[in-house]
Subunit: 318 residues, 2 copies
């Protein structure tokens, strides 16, 4: 029997074990999940969330770790949610280079959590925001959401933050790869990491060009800054924090923070509703029915839409 009210109270006091326990309940979609979320609701909405995304190899882990250090110097309580892609079949997270985070492992004001991106479409879409709520209620001033991949779902997660940081590095195929991954549009702040390498200036210039930063914008529009860093040595990281704070102030001033948060909440509610409906499809029909329908589709006797109709029919009575 899990004592949710006590657990939530301890998490609010920032006790790491309670925070970890609550996130595990979220990840495992435990029966207590609803009770946990209801209990957390009044204490959420305070944390500033920053999403970090970029191609593999640009130094996301190193940058995240450096940002944690920078925020700690400012006396902030920091949460880190590292969203790791995983096999669609195993469900396990690969924490290869999480090692760097060990720097902060003994700091009681830093909460670090890795999360696997499950095998099911939409799986992540409910789990990550719920974990954010736990960190939020635990009094984190800033939560960094680092996504390892640059796939659709990873990018969506990063884009749902209050501020989204897109990382690049020289000589990685640069801008065109970033553009292909669809991550240029979502960046509020751009970071060219490994700026001590050849080509850093060229990458920044190319990025500047692709973003059309030279073009005229409306007076109130946000112009995404491009910051050069060498995260491994901490260089430029304070400038990134400065850019983040500026963006946060801009969001506040223009009412954009509320807009983004409402959009995020709406996505979250819709994802949970769909997951619930999905579960009901399973409950109603059992795997046998779906398997039978699938067999008919493979045999060409039924098209997938006709099969879907039959699957849904029992659920809604229509």
């Amino acid at each position: 029997m899990i004592d949710v009210p006590t657990l939530v109270e301890q998490a609010r006091q920032g006790r790491p074990r309670a925070v970890a326990r609550l996130i595990s309940l979220v990840e495992n979609a435990a029966p207590e999940l609803r009770e946990v979320m209801a209990a957390l609701a009044p204490y959420t909405g305070r944390a500033y969330t920053v999403g970090l995304t970029g191609s593999p190899g640009v130094g996301k882990s190193t940058s995240t770790s450096a940002l944690v250090s920078a925020y700690r110097r400012l006396g902030k309580r920091v949460g880190v949610l590292a969203v790791d892609p995983s096999s669609p079949f195993s469900g396990g997270a690969l924490l290869g280079d999480r090692v760097r985070m060990q720097d902060h492992a003994t700091d009681p004001e830093v909460f670090i959590r890795s999360m696997a991106t499950r095998g099911h479409l939409g799986g992540l879409s409910w789990a990550a925001p719920q974990a954010l709520r736990v960190l939020d209620a635990a009094g984190c001033d800033v939560i960094l959401v680092e996504t390892v991949g640059v796939g659709q779902s990873e990018v969506e997660i990063a884009a749902r933050a209050d501020t989204t940081v897109v990382l690049l590095a020289p000589g990685m195929g640069d801008g065109i790869q970033a553009a292909k991954a669809g991550i240029l549009e979502i960046g509020d702040v751009f970071v060219v990491n490994k700026a001590d390498r050849d080509g850093a200036d060229a990458t920044a210039r190319e990025l500047n060009h692709m973003l059309g930063l030279g073009e005229a914008r409306g007076a109130g529009d946000w112009r995404p800054p491009i910051v050069k860093t060498v995260a491994a040595r901490g260089e430029g990281v304070d400038e990134v924090v400065e850019a983040l704070e500026k963006h946060r102030a801009w969001l506040d001033e223009h009412g954009e923070l509320a807009v983004r948060r409402r959009r995020r909440a709406a996505d979250e509610v819709e994802a949970i509703a769909l997951a619930a409906l999905r579960a009901r499809i399973g409950d109603l029909h059992g795997d046998r029915h779906l398997a039978t329908l699938a067999e008919q589709v493979v045999a060409g006797g039924l098209d997938p839409y006709g099969a879907a109709d039959r699957l849904v029919a029992g659920l809604t009575g229509r």
Copy 2:
């Protein structure tokens, strides 16, 4: 007014314009979509589908193009579905290096189509399989599904093929990046492309090690081969085709082809059912209701699960 039966008949005869038209209907979720799918159903299930995935820069487009040439030499009709990631906001596909495919543009026995991976979770999961059905009914012997990204949804698409090819290249962070992307488990055939570069042997060895290919397996188990290629010069590509044909024979022999196809159809039916339910949530409540609920969630007065309950309630009457 679109004459679906005529369009389907023309597509079956392999007329490119009809094929393109049908895929567009699928992509745009046109009102005729259901009619199209019902009309195609009896003519599907013949094509052998091959998924290709791997990190950006390993040479997926070049490899796909080389495979098209190889299959054409065998007299096969070939379909190519290139799944391109796109901005979650624009929905447009970036076709940067699709240029190589121009080699096959005038070949009437080759159908090439690029597809954007939409902004919505689950969006792709219904569109790509439906496009496959069109190419299948159009008499393609082989359909190559190339995914540009290595994100969750892209990997899922590639993994749903009859045979999944995972591409690597030397000096790209190699195995560990592939492992992080969760693509090692889904490979039926591995290709180390750019094998004329330094480190190709090391990459193959590392891959061999990570796959545990040295370990004992059951007698009937499939041992994923590792093929070295220089796709830009066509080297090793016939060996890839040979490996694919071997895997196909193995699938057939062990009844695995039917298993995979039933699983794929079940995923497809479930995705369509969920999309339908999602649309009904919108129909029933309108965006206003969701927006109001989201506002309450942001304010902390309601937790996302409670909000989701209210959203679903009107739909199922429970």
